[in-house]
């Protein structure tokens, strides 16, 4: 048998063993007998010294070609067998993911917190800080300092709950977060750009749109040269940022003792986007809150010279924004604290 025949024979045999390996383990087991020095092709290599010099190159080439063919076959079969083995393994791991019990252990912030934070974030983005104060207040901070002396008939605009603390100054549950504004102005000189979110109180019987305790956010800007136009522009910017570009704001004359000129702050109805619907009584607008240029008496009351500084203030209900955003028709639902409500948002 010529050397060439022997090479061809060894090659065919090796290829046959590779191709007939039943699994990856068997294949890996025969690897040394295919490529090592003790393999048939390895043995033939050792004979190279004995062949005629004129034939050595050709035989060497044939040997290398045979060895490479076996290596290629081996690698190819190994990939195939490995893939097959993985496939078999994976098949044993098959799962129906829809049979896995669903139990998200995620808690939820109350809608009031979510809405308040969203509002705070918008105003922080506009350069405001967030100020806070007590829920029980003196008559001075809640009314008198706000240009509402005790005899003022406009006090009847707020049904006030008073606390029974014995003698001394009247202490009440704040009817708005405006007393926080007064406290800020007492403690900080202008420029002031701040919002005051918080719980406020009215002597109201609970119904679908009233609760004796609810939530408000007010804003205050006091700086040199602040104008009514600044108020309108700021509310416009807030409206676009919070509700989206399609919602516009407008101001309508109104009355509050602590601002003058005073205005009601309307926005495009978020339901019909201005076309007119039941929610907005077909006007295309919904009333969001009150605002105005800070009354000079309020600035004087806290020792800010109204000839040097001017400002504006605004305020609106947080609860109502939450109701609007989620289509909740009864305010009381939000404060029953039923977990089936809480976990929806």
């Amino acid at each position: 048998m010529s050397v060439h025949d022997q090479i061809e024979d060894a090659r065919a045999q090796a290829l046959s063993r590779v191709e007939n390996a039943p699994d990856l383990d068997a294949l890996v087991a025969i690897e040394p007998s295919l490529f090592g020095k003790k393999s048939t092709l390895g043995g033939l290599k050792r004979l190279m010294g004995q062949v005629d010099a004129s034939e050595r190159a050709a035989i060497g080439k044939a040997l290398n070609a045979a060895q490479q063919a076996v290596r290629e076959a081996f690698d190819s079969v190994r990939v195939t067998l490995a893939a097959e083995m993985r496939r078999e393994q994976l098949e044993t791991e098959r799962m129906d993911l829809t049979e896995v019990p669903c139990a998200p252990n995620l808690g939820h912030l109350h809608l009031i917190s979510q809405t308040t934070q969203r509002l705070e974030d918008v105003f922080v983005g506009m350069g405001f800080t967030v100020s806070e104060g007590p829920e029980a207040e003196t008559d001075w901070y809640n009314f008198t300092a706000l240009n509402l002396p005790s005899w003022h008939p406009a006090r009847s605009m707020w049904d006030t709950l008073y606390l029974d603390l014995g003698s001394g100054e009247d202490v009440l549950l704040r009817t708005h977060t405006s007393p926080v504004q007064v406290r800020v102005m007492e403690q900080q000189r202008p420029p002031i750009y701040t919002v005051c979110p918080g719980r406020v109180f009215r002597r109201d019987t609970a119904d679908a749109s009233h609760l004796p305790a609810f939530h408000q956010i007010e804003g205050l800007v006091v700086d040199e040269g602040i104008t009514f136009g600044d108020l309108a522009g700021t509310l416009d910017e807030f409206t676009a940022a919070y509700f989206g570009e399609s919602i516009k704001s407008r101001l309508r004359p109104s009355f509050f003792p602590f601002t003058e000129p005073s205005a009601e702050f309307d926005i495009t109805c978020t339901i019909c986007e201005g076309a007119g619907c039941q929610t907005c009584a077909r006007t295309g607008w919904i009333e969001l809150g009150g605002c105005g240029v800070v009354h000079p008496n309020v600035l004087s009351n806290v020792g800010i010279d109204p000839e040097c500084y001017s400002g504006f203030a605004f305020g609106f209900g947080i609860d109502r924004l939450a109701l609007m955003r989620h289509g909740i028709s009864d305010l009381r639902d939000m404060f029953t604290n039923d977990v089936r409500f809480l976990t929806q948002f």
Partner: protein, 785 residues
């Protein structure tokens, strides 16, 4: 305030579609709450009742023959019985579509034909009266459409919300003036002329003001030959639509003049006023009077009264008249009062007497004293039309009236406040049409405030008027730039993070009511004696400000358990209220965080606290077991101490409280005073270098009596371990036979690691022994073998 367009047009030729004019009024600050356009309803005609016959087969229906205009009787079946032969009634003829959509057809009712329908006032949109058929009065033409004859065809009724600073807009004339100014059309206040008799008022009446601060002006007139009958239909209609019930000619005219000119007025039966003398003074404390509504009123010294010539009170000034001089059916001589009263006096009287009326609402806001003579003449003119005669002359007595304010309005100030660029002339052009007379010098507009704008006293008040008539929408919008970056404080951020941590760990945030009833407090095992009470609560459930978050959270748990909601993990962050601390005016108000887990024991609360402490970064707090914490489980509760201060409580809710709230299962409870907690947080923690040396773990178990806190042993271990102790973890507690009663075995895993070298076995043995010695020498504990 309700106004009819036709009425406004008697003062100014305002134009526009009903909606356009509504928008204009809204944008002038008189918000339109509703707008109704009256359909001419030409197929509803005036008919005369000719005959009334019972229905042969029905008790509740009668047969009415009416004249629909052609003189031929037309039979109508009618379910009402309030009309008599000769009455004029509205007839909806065949084919009429009623405002409610019903179409009138010829039909048979129990065998009798009905050729139309007789209508109630409510059925045709003229008020709320649906009791019986609307009996019409006055000179009406039978067969002609009703709405046109009473002047309502195509008319528009606006319901306006009038702000407290717009007393002028509490009248038809005032609304017309504002709208006319906006539209640039002329507003004309008519001068109503009155034909007088030769008799002089000085011979029949006189008025003395004893209290000039209370009554600034008292104008009076006398009418004779007054027939206290029914007002003409058009007047009844206007009053009804504007919210006042027609009563009698005199009362109706009184109300009509009030609605039209904004000044309330009062009428006396002159024959019941001795000598026609009226005086004005303050009441004597405790003075009594029977008012028009037949109530006996006890007056206070601050109330104003009208007295007769015997100094007996016969009316409460500006609030309500007395019964003794009331106009009755037999009245024929009327003494008419149109006075100006001090706003604050009326506000105080109407509040203290609990008497609020259309009149007191107007006096409180401030009425126009200058319109008084016009108002008496308008009153007399309207009653003259009904046959009354007017005695010659007007009584006009003055008290103290405020000076008419003359206000300097600086043009640059106007523009600085509004962000406008208005000239002095432009400002004048805005102010004069609404009654301000102006003169300009340099940059100042000097404005004389009209008597109907008592709200305008200062420059800023006038600036608001300028803004209103310039138009809020016409002011360019600008956005001021804060010189500082907006931000939350670090405490605000920390509070948000704390809430987010709890939500992320599965706790749902709740917001219960801050109000409690005394019973809520007692049921929760808390002290009800030192709580802050609401002085004027609407309900007992809202009479106490919560001293703790516990009752509110328990109420939420009870609610959810009763709705089968399973186990709950809840938290709340909110204010509590305690009685004021010494020297303070305000309640001791604090922000607390409460965490509750139902169906779990105190370990869940401890885990909650560990979560909170880790979230905030508080490492040095300790727990001290306590058996006397109100509302909490006597043997499963601890106080949280931090830097020598108690900042919270952790454990379980008292089983007694749970029973009182009908809550089943245990409730793990944690409450922390948020400000104290956050004050202890470390904002910028210094880096502790991570050691690369090998570490070794040792376990130490001690037998510890039950009355020694595990935390005390752990503190000793930490101290003894010193720098070589990398971490410590309590991993096992064992109670049982092997350790006996009143004690348990507590095991800790200690990881030892030096910063700078590998610890040898000998090093480790030294530390281990140091730890054991320290524990055994400081506590009644011994190492468990």
């Amino acid at each position: 305030m309700r106004v009819l367009l036709s009425w406004l047009r008697e003062f100014a030729p305002v134009e526009g579609t009903p909606a356009e004019m509504g928008d204009q009024m809204s944008m002038l600050g008189m918000a339109v709450e509703s707008l109704d356009v009256f359909d001419p309803m030409e197929s509803i005609v005036v008919a005369r009742v000719l005959d009334l016959k019972p229905h042969p087969d029905a008790d509740r229906i009668q047969l009415v023959d009416v004249d629909p205009g052609d003189g031929e009787p037309l039979q109508i079946c009618c379910g009402a019985f309030n009309m008599t032969v000769g009455d004029l009634v509205p007839l909806a003829t065949i084919g009429t579509v009623m405002p409610n959509g019903m179409e009138i057809a010829k039909r048979k009712m129990r065998g009798e034909t009905s050729n139309g329908m007789l209508c109630s006032a409510a059925e045709i949109g003229l008020g709320s009266d649906h009791e019986g058929i609307f009996i019409l009065s006055g000179e009406l033409e039978v067969g002609e459409p009703l709405m046109a004859q009473i002047g309502l065809a195509g008319d528009v009724l606006y319901d306006l919300e009038i702000n407290p600073n717009r007393p002028d807009a509490m009248s038809v004339a005032g609304v017309a003036r504002d709208l006319a100014a906006h539209q640039g059309v002329a507003f004309v206040m008519p001068d109503w002329s009155v034909e007088e008799t030769s008799e002089s008022i000085d011979d029949v009446a006189d008025v003395v003001i004893h209290e000039p601060d209370l009554c600034g002006r008292f104008v009076a007139r006398v009418l004779r030959n007054v027939d206290v009958g029914v007002s003409p239909m058009w007047m009844q209609m206007r009053l009804t639509l504007c919210g006042m019930r027609p009563i009698s000619s005199v009362v109706d005219v009184s109300n009509y003049v009030m609605l039209e000119l904004g000044t309330p007025n009062h009428t006396y039966d002159l024959d019941k006023v001795p000598n026609g003398h009226l005086g004005v003074r303050r009441a004597v404390e405790g003075e009594e009077l029977i008012t028009l509504d037949d109530s006996e009123r006890t007056l206070r010294a601050s109330d104003g009264v009208i007295v007769d010539n015997t100094d007996t009170a016969i009316g409460i000034a500006g609030v309500m008249g007395g019964a003794s001089t009331e106009i009755g059916e037999s009245t024929s001589n009327v003494l008419l009062e149109v006075a100006w009263w001090n706003e604050r006096s009326i506000a105080e009287s109407s509040t203290s007497l609990g008497l609020r009326s259309e009149a007191s609402a107007r006096f409180e806001r401030g009425t126009d004293w200058d319109v008084n003579t016009r108002a008496v003449n308008r009153f007399c003119a309207l009653l003259s039309d009904q046959g009354a005669t007017v005695v010659s002359g007007i009584i006009d007595v003055r008290g103290n009236l405020r000076d008419t304010p003359v206000v300097d309005v600086r043009v640059p100030r106007v523009n600085a406040m509004l962000g406008t660029d208005l000239s002095a002339d432009a400002i004048v052009a805005l102010l004069e049409p609404i009654g301000f007379s102006c003169c300009v010098s340099d940059d100042v507009v000097t404005a004389t405030v009209p008597t109907f704008r008592p709200d305008c006293e200062f420059e800023i008040d006038i600036i608001e008027e300028i803004a209103r008539h310039h138009g809020y929408q016409a002011i360019a919008k600008t956005v001021p730039k804060s010189p500082d970056a907006g931000h939350l404080t670090s405490v605000q951020t920390a509070r948000r993070e704390l809430k987010a941590t709890l939500a992320g760990a599965g706790f749902n945030e709740i917001v219960p009511s801050p109000f409690l009833s005394p019973d809520d407090v007692i049921r929760s095992g808390l002290d009800v004696d030192a709580v802050v009470e609401v002085r004027n609560p609407l309900a007992a459930e809202e009479s106490i400000m919560r001293p703790s978050l516990l009752p509110g959270v328990l109420s939420v748990i009870a609610y959810n358990q009763s709705h089968r909601s399973g186990d709950l993990a809840l938290f709340e962050m909110g204010h509590t209220f305690g009685v004021p601390l010494a020297g303070e005016t305000l309640p001791d108000e604090n922000t607390w965080l409460a965490v509750a887990v139902t169906g779990s024991d105190a370990t869940a609360a401890k885990a909650g606290w560990d979560l909170v402490a880790a979230s905030v970064g508080v490492e040095t707090a300790t727990l001290v077991n306590r058996d006397d914490l109100p509302g909490l489980h006597p043997t499963r509760a601890a106080e949280i101490e931090l830097d020598g201060r108690t900042i919270g409580r952790v454990g379980e809710v008292d089983p007694g409280a749970l029973e009182a709230w009908s809550i089943s299962g245990r409730v793990a409870w944690l409450e922390v005073k948020v400000d104290d907690l956050l004050a202890a947080r470390i904002e910028s923690k210094p880096y502790r270098v991570v050691s690369t040396q090998p570490s070794s773990d040792i376990d130490l178990a001690f037998m510890v009596p039950d009355d020694t806190q595990a935390s005390a042993i752990e503190a000793t271990l930490v101290e003894a371990g010193g720098d070589d102790l990398a971490s410590i973890r309590l991993f096992d507690v064992y109670r049982g036979e092997q350790v006996g009663d009143s004690a348990r075995s507590v095991a800790w895993a200690l990881r030892l690691q030096a910063r700078d070298r590998t610890m040898t076995d000998a090093d480790i043995a030294v530390v281990r022994q140091r730890c054991i010695d320290a524990v055994e020498s400081t506590h009644p504990a011994r190492l468990r073998d």
